[in-house]
């Protein structure tokens, strides 16, 4: 029987008896008795379970911080895992981040500490500079209830860009170790099976053969169902081993993101071509989540909020849907059909998402409102592709999330604005237009009234930012600019 093979703190593991739906966290703590990795929430939101997972990339090993509570053991196939136990050098010497945390008095109860150490180690390993916004980005996935973070942030600042330690050596050894691994096709335990297709046709065939199967990209949404609700379908099909799905293609008219491209991998492209999308994605989950999660996964689960989905609507993205019969692009309007429903038919899957490049004078803007800036699910997400000429709105695609059972375009809003002068008075009655487009509900993220009011104000912000650049020179228009 095939086994899942990976390196764990430098040691080969070959697992042929754990259930395919066992989370990596449970595996580490119970099977391996590596209890430094903690369970704080089992929903990928506290970071206490953070580990590093290394993959070969152009011969080198890249370690990413991930939430072990959301990952299933088969996802470790052909990776090199480092836990807090492996952070300490074999001779017992502390890793620089451990030393820095110690020196900064950055531990109180200590339960979150291993997770912070791992997030910081990944940050340091990535070689990023000691800029505060990067540090917060790197630590946004880790919660501490005792310290108030100041000493942790100081520790992180201290290690940023620092010399690498024994982990660099480990990375070389891990990369060499993983090089010779031959691919496996499936991992089966009883009635559960985790498939590892390695080509697009193979994936299409499996999807057709197993219409009940769940496609597993990063597992940051579906893994939640396994970890918290202990529900799973008998067949899971990994997408991340299919090279075509990991591809990012930069074309003249659009940029195409393969369905297994993670948010982290896509971010540099967003930053260049759609900075506002990059800014929204940076607030989506945490690095641990973005290192696993994919835009296609977000789209396939058709979240009513789904931070990226309103952006895809506004950008007029095309969803390339493949089946055994071939691949065809589908508009967002055709793709999202209802609350957590898509038009994907049995046998179909998302191959890629195409984002049309902006053409002059189009601009793209996106806003996310949540209680907490980082790692929170939005009350409202708004995305706008707007083209202005001589102070008049030439074209507008406006889309909102969090305003109804699905993210969708605000057609009444678009109608009210297109062709009008781009002034505050054009927006005077925009609240009514929004109320025609959306009937949001009251929930723990916000009341219907707040959502409508804030959504209208986001249009006002859009107007101020795009029509009144003079104001930004006087005083910041957003808190982020302070």
């Amino acid at each position: 029987m095939a086994a899942i093979r990976f390196l764990l703190n430098g040691q080969w593991c070959s697992e042929d008896s754990v259930p395919p739906t066992m989370t990596v966290l449970d595996y580490l703590r119970t099977v391996r008795r590596l209890t430094g990795t903690k369970e704080g929430c089992a929903e990928g939101d506290c970071g206490a379970c953070t580990i590093m997972v290394g993959r070969r990339e152009e011969g080198r090993l890249r370690y990413d911080a991930v939430n072990s509570c959301l990952m299933l053991v088969p996802q470790l196939e052909a990776t090199a895992v480092v836990t807090v136990e492996g952070l300490t050098a074999p001779d017992g010497a502390l890793h620089p981040v451990q030393h820095a945390l110690l020196e900064a008095d950055a531990t109180q109860c200590g339960f979150c500490t291993p997770g912070f150490a791992m997030a910081m180690a990944a940050f340091q390993h990535g070689g990023e500079p000691a800029r505060d916004e990067l540090i917060h980005e790197a630590l946004a996935g880790n919660l501490c209830r005792c310290t108030g973070y100041r000493p942790i942030v100081d520790a992180c600042r201290g290690v940023a860009g620092g010399a690498l330690d024994h982990l660099a050596e480990r990375a070389r050894a891990d990369a060499a170790g993983l090089a010779g691994l031959s691919p496996i096709a499936e991992y089966r335990q009883g009635e559960q099976c985790f498939y590892f297709p390695h080509t697009l046709p193979e994936l299409a065939r499996l999807v057709k053969q197993h219409p009940e199967a769940q496609l597993w990209a990063g597992g940051t949404d579906l893994g939640l169902v396994v970890a918290k609700e202990r529900r799973w379908s008998p067949a899971l099909i990994a997408t991340s081993f299919v090279p075509e799905l990991k591809r990012i293609t930069v074309g003249p008219d659009w940029i195409e993101f393969g369905a297994a491209v993670t948010y982290s991998e896509a971010l540099p492209y967003f930053d260049v071509s759609f900075p506002a999308l990059g800014a929204v994605v940076r607030r989506l989950g945490s690095r641990q989540i973005r290192n696993l999660g994919t835009m296609a996964g977000n789209l396939a689960t058709a979240s009513p909020i789904g931070d990226t989905i309103p952006c895809l609507f506004a950008l007029d993205a095309a969803v390339v849907v493949r089946s055994i019969a071939g691949a065809r692009p589908r508009t967002m309007e055709k793709f999202i059909t209802g609350y957590r429903r898509t038009s994907l038919a049995p046998g179909e899957f998302i191959e890629s998402i195409r984002l049309p490049r902006l053409v002059q004078p189009q601009q793209f803007h996106a806003f996310k409102l949540s209680k907490r800036f980082d790692q929170d699910i939005a009350a409202v997400t708004a995305a706008f592709r707007i083209a202005l000429a001589d102070g008049v709105v030439q074209s507008l695609r406006a889309a909102f999330g969090g305003m109804g059972p699905t993210a969708k375009r605000a057609t009444a809003v678009e109608e009210a604005i297109i062709g009008q002068p781009w002034t505050a008075s054009t927006l005077a009655g925009i609240d009514q237009a929004l109320a025609r487009d959306f009937a949001p509900m009251d929930d723990h993220r916000g009341s219907a009234a707040y959502r409508l009011r804030a959504a209208a104000n986001l249009l006002r912000r859009l107007q101020i930012e795009t029509a009144r650049p003079d104001l930004a020179g006087v005083a910041p228009l957003r808190l982020e600019a302070l």
Binding site: T35, G36, T37, K38, G40, C41, G44, C46, A48, T83, E85, L94, H99, L101, L102, D105, T107, Q108, C109, G110, F111, C112, P114, H136, L139, N142, L143, R145, C146, T147, G148, Y149, R150, P151, F367, L369, S370, K371, R372, F373, D374, D376, I377, A379, D443, H444, R445, Y450, A454, N457, L458, R460, R461, I464, L471, V474, P476, L477, L479, L482
Partner: protein, 780 residues
């Protein structure tokens, strides 16, 4: 007691010694309860929680659950061999719902199986037949129904009605603050191991091993000496593992009792948040009379707490809230009424500050209203009303404030930050900024130290010196991350004049130090430090006698210093003397004991001296809000905190910063949201948002007040630190209100309850703009 001076030993009192488990924390080697390997045969437990806010339990059928693979037992209230009551103050609070489920999340039954997976699966198979009953979910409904969990409390002094009647100015209003989940990173957990002859050993993540011991003994009908409860460390607690830990440990013990096997119950985060209590939300109604100078002449204020389904610690929380509704202000004519209302929600409980934050929140809302009415800075009104020294120094509950240093603390804060200039900068910004508005506010804090109930202010310790000179320390306090163990170890190192590394602290156990109080009320090092010092001094005295005989000098000439014991220029190492004591057959072990002096409380009149002393602090805080969305950034916080003569400035600084950020969370992003069926919909970190690293003020300076030894004889003249700084965060809430008020040229009082979520801030912005626009032009 002795007044020791700083010495050459490493890690003595007042040194910034590192947390004793820090290396264990960063390497992951520090063991939490769930990290300890299970004994063979250990069962795992899962809870069956009520889906109804209020329902009669007609029937519980465990048949399907018991038939499921690996299931060893299912327990319900019927299975309790002793008394199904774990109420910490009042009677009649069951560990497992008996007959009636009173909130969504109420534990109704529990399952033990060979794996957690199977226990969770089987819990879903327990068939419970409910008959839903009308539920009271909102505080207003409870007030209307007169539903209380404990009698109303009143603290009254002077002639309130007359003072209000004659006051030149008078304002009435109401304001609310929300609850708060503790969100300790380590969830509730307990392991119960049955021993021989009806013994049961419980390891529990608890702040109060003795209460767990009592709860387990009561449930199982055992004498206390059959139950031993131990805790090495908790992954955070904050009050949430005081009474609430007993629910978890009690159910684990019940399952262990029934199965005769070790049982571990670890709540998953959602169950933890649904089933266990939180900080009390409060509704505050005030009627205040004052004069043109801002002197508070009369105050009639009612504090209504949402206690949840049972009393738990609510009566005590309410008392502390009332005892802090004066904060730093002399209130000559005052009536403070407290109601703890019963609702069909989870029973609220202790949380860092224990009512103090809500009491201070209340009075600060009043002071701000007065200041805005008079259009003067809040600081001016505060200063006008600060407790005096030798005059105007009697609290509403009849205690004289003898150690008042609030003016000094406030001056240190304001002088250090140049408040007028800071305020001018904020105002300049606001004049030119259309969308973003800034706010600035300060906050003084006076927090009473000691449990309100005098009985609880006692502690014990156990110290052994071994023949190699190493010291084993045990005391009744528990380590939840606050650094209590290292602080008390420093006390012992200081007493023996040995390096800290020679003192080892062991897990807290009811078998070593009995009849303890909760590690709570900020009192951990005050109480246990003194008890440990008492034990160490007894041993040191005996050792000095032996040394005196050895060197043939009077005992008074023996000096302990720098890991040695001196008689003039002759000396022995501490270890040599320990060995010598053993050979001379002198005991090297002692129990220590301490009770706080001077305190008393009359429950009939709600008067007395409940607090040994007060801890003081002050904060200034700058925030910015987005007037289009209500989003918030806390830009800067400047804190000054009185720690007396700090036992450990590194640990104390961590407590101040951590408490402030936790308080900030309470007042900003942390919103508990129940739906119309009484279901908590914010039951995990994905929906309940505690502060993250970016939320911490970018400029965040903390100063411990220098040269401020406690005037009372506390342990080395230090002061308690756990809770007081949490209330400094009220400055954040006031600063948000200031930013909102700037939209109406500071002429109107904002309407903004806590938590100040973006939604509430935006509503306050819209409201104040509408009211300002409606003012006649000449008033604008």
């Amino acid at each position: 007691m002795s007044e020791l001076t700083p010495s050459a030993v490493k890690g003595g009192a007042h040194s910034p010694a590192r947390h004793d488990s820090a290396a264990g924390h960063v390497t992951g080697r520090a063991l939490f309860l769930d990290d300890v390997a299970n004994a063979p045969g250990t069962l795992h437990a899962a809870l069956v929680l009520s889906p109804h806010a209020h329902a009669r339990i007609r029937r519980i059928d465990a048949g399907r659950a018991l038939a499921a693979p690996g299931v060893a037992a299912v327990v319900t209230a019927e299975d309790v061999p002793g008394r199904n009551d774990i109420g910490p103050i009042l009677k009649g609070e069951p560990a497992l719902a008996a007959g009636v489920a009173e909130y969504v999340g109420h534990p109704v039954a529990a399952v033990a199986a060979d794996t957690l997976e199977r226990a969770l699966a089987a819990a879903a198979l327990v068939d419970v037949e409910y008959e839903p009953l009308p539920a009271i979910l909102r505080l207003e409904e409870a007030i209307a129904a007169g539903a209380l969990v404990s009698p109303a409390q009143v603290i009254e002094r002077g002639e309130v009605a007359i003072a209000l009647g004659y006051a030149p100015m008078r304002l009435a209003g109401d304001v609310r603050c929300g609850g708060q989940d503790h969100f300790y990173l380590e969830g509730q957990i307990a392991l119960a191991v049955p021993g021989e002859d009806r013994d049961i050993a419980v390891t529990s993540s608890t702040q109060h091993p003795t209460e767990v011991q009592h709860g387990v003994a009561r449930l199982l009908g055992l004498p206390l000496n059959a139950v031993t409860v131990e805790v090495r460390r908790m992954g955070g607690a904050f009050g949430g593992k005081e009474s609430q830990a007993t629910i978890v440990a009690g159910i684990a013990a019940l399952l262990a009792w029934k199965t005769h096997r070790p049982v571990k119950l670890r709540l998953r985060r959602d169950d933890d948040m649904r089933a266990t209590g939180k900080r009390h939300p409060f509704l505050i109604r005030y009627d205040v009379g004052f004069d043109e100078d801002g002197s508070l002449l009369g105050l009639d204020m009612t504090l209504v707490a949402n206690a949840g389904n049972v009393a738990d610690l609510s009566p005590a929380v309410l008392t502390r809230a009332l005892c802090h509704a004066d904060n730093c202000y002399y209130l000559p004519n005052v009536r403070l009424r407290g109601l703890a209302c019963k609702t069909n929600t989870v029973s609220n409980t202790a949380f860092r500050g224990f009512g103090g934050p809500q009491g201070m929140f209340a009075i600060e809302a009043v002071v701000e209203a007065v200041a805005r009415h008079l259009r003067v800075p809040t600081e001016l009104v505060r200063r006008r009303n600060f407790y005096g020294i030798g005059r105007n120094d009697m609290t509403p509950y009849g205690m004289t404030v003898e150690d008042n240093i609030i003016e000094r603390v406030v001056e240190e804060l304001e002088g250090g930050v140049d408040l007028p200039r800071w305020r001018a900068e904020v105002e300049t910004f606001n004049r030119t900024s259309a969308v973003i508005k800034k706010g600035l506010a300060t906050m003084p804090v006076k927090f009473g130290i000691s449990f309100n109930l005098p009985t609880l202010n006692q502690a014990g310790a156990l110290v052994h010196v071994y023949t190699d000179g190493s010291v084993h320390l045990n005391h009744g306090g528990t380590e939840m991350g606050q650094g209590l163990f290292v602080k008390v170890a420093q006390v012992v190192a200081e007493a023996f004049q040995i390096d800290l590394e020679h003192v080892r602290v062991s897990a807290t156990s009811t078998g070593k130090v009995p009849n303890t109080s909760a590690t709570a009320a900020s009192s951990g090092s005050d109480l246990n430090g003194m008890a440990a010092l008492n034990a160490a001094e007894q041993i040191r005295g005996r050792m000095a006698q032996v040394a005196a005989a050895h060197f043939a000098v009077p005992a008074t000439e023996i000096v302990f210093s720098d890991n040695r014991v001196f008689a003039g220029n002759k000396s022995l190492s501490f270890a040599e003397l320990a060995e010598l004591c053993w050979r001379r057959r002198v005991s090297l072990s002692a129990t220590g004991y301490y009770r706080t002096p001077k305190i008393n409380w009359d429950f009939k009149t709600n008067t007395g001296r409940p607090f040994y002393y007060f801890s003081y602090g002050a904060a200034a805080c700058e925030v910015a809000i987005d007037t289009l969305t209500g989003e918030l950034r806390v830009l800067r916080a400047e804190l000054v905190q009185d720690c007396g003569r700090s036992l450990n400035p590194a640990i104390d600084k961590g407590q101040v910063e951590g408490a402030f950020v936790q308080g900030m969370g309470w007042l900003t992003t942390e919103e508990l949201w129940w739906d119309e069926d009484g279901r908590l919909r914010t039951h995990g970190p994905s929906t309940y948002k505690i502060p993250g690293s970016r939320d911490v003020p970018r400029v965040f300076n903390t100063r411990l007040l220098a040269d401020a030894p406690n005037r009372e004889q506390t342990i080395f003249r230090s002061k308690a630190i756990g809770e007081p700084p949490l209330m400094l965060a009220i400055a954040v809430w006031l600063a948000i209100r200031d930013a909102v008020a700037s939209l109406a040229d500071h002429r109107l009082l904002p309407k903004l309850d806590a938590p100040a979520t973006p939604e509430r801030i935006l509503a306050a912005v819209d409201d104040i703009q509408a009211r300002f626009a409606a003012l006649p032009a000449e008033a604008r």
